[in-house]
């Protein structure tokens, strides 16, 4: 598994904290109240088109978010994809025994954060009509339009 990290530290204040990405543990750290988010859909498995990972260092404040840009290459024999589901699956691979199903209050989870001026992330793929970024929404949908923060 290749590793490509391009962290661009961002320091600021925001009010919308969305999604528990993966992995919980015990912690005494003060946290924001858990937010209500859409229930996570069932986890699916399928053909893996691309895979990668990156390290997220621990911080001691609520006000630091890093943006991580990671990448991979579609296989040469990807085949027809129109009409199929494209799924971005994210998890904490350093703590595989940890289960985190939502809500961040009092947890020790890595979280995906929506910044005030932008969405919480995207996946960009190439098709015949060009390159399309699909933005992560709090509904667990990938949408062409950014999620309003």
């Amino acid at each position: 598994m290749g590793l490509q990290i391009k962290a661009r530290p961002f320091v600021g204040h925001w009010t919308m904290l969305l999604i528990v990405a993966a992995g919980c543990g015990s912690s005494e750290m003060p946290m924001e109240p858990p937010l209500v988010t859409a229930p996570a859909p069932p986890v699916l498995t399928g053909t893996v088109l691309a895979v990668d990972s990156f390290f997220v260092p621990a911080t001691q404040t609520n006000f630091t978010v890093d943006q991580y840009s990671s990448g991979g290459t579609l296989p040469p024999d990807v085949g027809p994809t129109a009409g199929k589901l494209l799924i971005l699956s994210v998890r904490d691979i350093s703590r595989p025994d940890i289960v985190c199903t939502g809500g961040i209050g009092g947890s020790n989870c890595a979280i995906i954060v929506a910044l005030p001026t932008r969405d919480e992330g995207f996946v960009s793929v190439q098709s015949e009509s060009g390159r399309t970024p699909y933005f992560l929404h709090s509904t667990y949908r990938l949408e062409i339009d950014p999620d309003p923060a």
Binding site: A21, A22, G23, M29, A40, P41, T45, G46, T47, L49, A50, V51, D52, S53, F54, V56, P57, A58, Q60, N62, V65, D66, Q67, Y68, G71, G72, T73, L74, P76, D77, V78, T81, G83, K84, L85, L86, L88, S89, V90, R91, I93, S94, P96, D97, I98, V99, I112, V113, G121, F122, V123, V125, Q126, S127, E128, Y134, H137, Y140, R141, L142
Partner: protein
């Protein structure tokens, strides 16, 4: 890979171009030790799999 995966999904309207670059950008933070390694996978799934999984979930 282990851990509890979260997934975001869409239905593709076009064929993806083989051998092209996939970019994934995420805004993340992790408060308190330890730091963590976040892994992602881009999956292609038949729509019928989603329907079956949803029906199974509702049966619980």
């Amino acid at each position: 890979m282990g851990g509890s995966a979260l997934q975001w999904r869409t239905t593709l309207t076009e064929d993806l171009t083989p051998s092209t670059f996939v970019q994934v950008e995420l805004s993340l933070r992790k408060i308190g030790d330890p730091g963590v390694t976040i892994g992602w996978e881009l999956l292609l799934v038949e729509p019928s799999a989603d329907l079956a999984a949803t029906e199974k979930l509702h049966d619980c």
